[in-house]
Symmetry: D2
């Protein structure tokens, strides 16, 4: 399905070498100041051309087709498109015969009976993430009370950012590529965000994140490290929650199920 | 939202110490043989009482309320309930004042204005996963062409299963708990499963998996290890896809974007 | 799909002669006083046994399986079931060979490959509306600010209620049945209820209403009569909206598209 | 919500006087021949300029932004836009102070806190139905096995089409408008279309139809007339279903619930 979300619904359309990449966001609050300039910063972080990214350079200039009037969101569905310009005229039909491993070429050709747009991966291209970035810009404006910070933490297994350029150059020289890890910290979320049973914050976020081509894993909090911790290490103490006997250090806690246990009467 | 899925929709209801835990599955194919015995094996794998699990013992006998007629699914919504029997009469209201860290007590109390059912975690109890298991039994019957195998791979950081009993006993003696890692292998899935843009197999599965209390991370394929691989290591070669120069070993491959590259004319 | 709604989601399950008819409502506000007695009045209006209704008599005693704790809704999915008692042991399999016209027998048999529950219409029985009534009781509690009043306006083409008993008896004597028209007036709805583009109040209500077996039409406001009115007759004047020249009577109005038309400067 | 549908999902965007009116259709089968010319016939039926329609004339030339490659649908989300050209520069802000009765001006202004696009009704304009027509063209191509025929049956209460021009001219001369009734006949639908409990064909269709501004009622089959019929008149006999005693005429039938009734052994 090309739509995700319940209150804030994001619908993606477009192909890598078609006329446009686009996104329609429904559920936008009215009255939010929004102009094409608001997209610049986040789009530039996604932008191609930097070391280790695709060499395809595009202007990526957003065009607002609906949902904004006199510089403010109207509350109506908000559509943003990006025109594809740097589209090459190669014989992409060859992808049908020689599908690229690690890409959707083979699967898409089968799934759509040979009618999928093969140019640059069509709808499976990483270029579609332009729509995610645009929707994220709007989402962040609606969630003005929260701070979002996503940073690259690891490239090719290296956590020291100073070593990344060399590693990337070496991989590129071999016609190869490197993986990476991104960490995103969000502060200021309201207590109780997410909805049981299925729509935990973790569940909803991971559903969306795996739409980004190439993502292979996602962790929350301590992530897989939690599997190697004891419960007493992993547990989050409430700030005001003190263990009465003072036997435990901060960040550690006995975690009885019994509310009457003497340890729990902070 | 208590419902997940599009063609196969799973709705969960019930509380840990309420009358029942239940699940309604919509989109079940008609004509599948189904009896309460079909749930036994998977329910027993989830069952409490084993070393390292909750000591709460329940019969967990499924009761089919709808969707089955004369031993076959009818295609109508299929509801299965499990009666809660081993419910304790403790003063769970104390959880409101002394919420357990690492549980939903605090958040639920705030989110529902003090009206949530606090007994045993209410709707946030791990006991709700009974409904997931029941839905999974039905799903596996519908996907008769595939094989599902989920196994415990790691307990408390130990991959050697023979060391688990000792580690669990030691943790239990300390009133503590251990984390774990489960691996699930599915074979026989049809090519092209999942739907772009948002509903990749990874996205949809992870959405569901994070509903299981305590899950902190999920990986597919090589998972986070992929971030430490070069593209040439991570890539899946098509079985028939041979690199023409024979320069690369099996499992490794140059991955050009150029379909006319001589290397790619298998 | 057995679920309808976005914020307030109603999932129906059960068959006419299965163990239960049930409904799960998700999105219920926490803290609403609710007991089985709250369902009595509306259930009794639906109840069989009155002149012109099905002779099948049931206790229709609601049983709350989840979502209520200490007399208040918890905010968790709320499931109500009704046990089927008056189930007859006839050879309903004969319906497969001799499907009743005007019923789902024929279609269901084909659609579900002969696996549908044929007893009393199975999931297509009017008895499933028990779930709608139960959900409605909860909905009305949440919409305490509004007044709902549904009344029977017409039976067998007769608007004079005093003539209905005779007409019903005459039809029954012939082994026949009569149609009817129900009018529902809702007062106190907030301005702006409904969501564009698709989820107008009319669209969402009609979607739900046609789930009631036998409904053949729905109208809002003047309904089909509006098609026979001129726009000037059909239009709703705003109470404070006066035509400046006093040329029009109350309830009629010129309706220019031009906001600068002198008539429109109230 | 701006999206409707489950397998075939239609998302509308745009405003009457914004840059475009658009629609994205997800769930389109791949391999269907589609060009802008395919939209011409149905768009021309909707087109303004005819007697009794809005005088606003637009080219209404569809532009396909995604989902079509080399003249065939790809299976990817298919977006069609229509540029708005004939937009007037009037002071539509006056609509905020003097909202037009029978329009969304007043409600939208309140609902969106004065940020809605007031020009020509914004997202509430009848012009948005361009998106419905475009989606309908695609839907009909997918349902090649069915025939759709929608015709105007009544204008201003007149069923004789020859009298319509005069009635329309008379109303227009008075600055007034007339209502109408449209009948749509669909042939060739597969048996069992629609899904219980909520998604009957009637429910799903009516949900969509009420998105068309001005629609006040919808009927299926005999519609409200059914309320004035006896069951024996309203009932649809199966073609091969003969009443054994020959006592009933074609189209009429006793409708017992008892499958063993002698009358029912066709």
């Amino acid at each position: 399905m090309n739509t995700i979300g319940n209150k804030f619904r994001v619908s993606i359309f477009g192909e890598s070498h078609g006329p446009v990449i686009g996104v329609t966001v429904d559920g936008v609050l009215p009255g939010i100041p929004l102009s094409v300039e608001d997209f610049t910063q986040d789009l530039s972080r996604r932008k191609a051309g930097a070391l280790g990214t695709t060499p395809r350079i595009e202007a990526d200039a957003p065009e607002i087709l609906s949902g904004v009037y006199e510089g403010h969101t109207t509350g109506a569905p908000l559509t943003v498109i990006f025109r594809n310009e740097n589209t090459r005229s190669e014989d992409y039909e060859a992808f049908r015969k020689n599908p690229r491993p690690g890409h959707a070429d083979f699967t898409a050709n089968l799934k759509y009976g040979g009618y999928n747009d093969p140019r640059g991966g069509g709808q499976f291209s990483g270029r579609l993430t332009l729509g995610i970035v645009a929707a994220g810009v709007i989402a962040k404006k609606m969630m003005y009370f929260a701070k979002f910070n996503a940073v690259l933490k690891e490239v090719g297994g290296l956590t020291d950012a100073e070593k990344w350029p060399e590693a990337l150059k070496a991989a590129a020289a071999d016609g190869d590529s490197l993986g990476g890890v991104v960490e995103c910290v969000v502060e200021g979320l309201p207590i109780g965000l997410g909805e049981p049973f299925w729509d935990s914050v973790e569940g909803v976020l991971s559903h969306a994140v795996f739409a980004i081509p190439g993502v292979r894993g996602i962790e929350f909090g301590d992530g897989f490290e939690a599997a190697r911790m004891r419960g007493s290490e992993h547990i989050d103490l409430f700030p005001e929650h003190k263990c009465c006997h003072g036997e435990h250090e901060e960040g550690h806690h006995c975690h009885h199920d019994d509310p009457d246990h003497e340890c729990c009467h902070g």
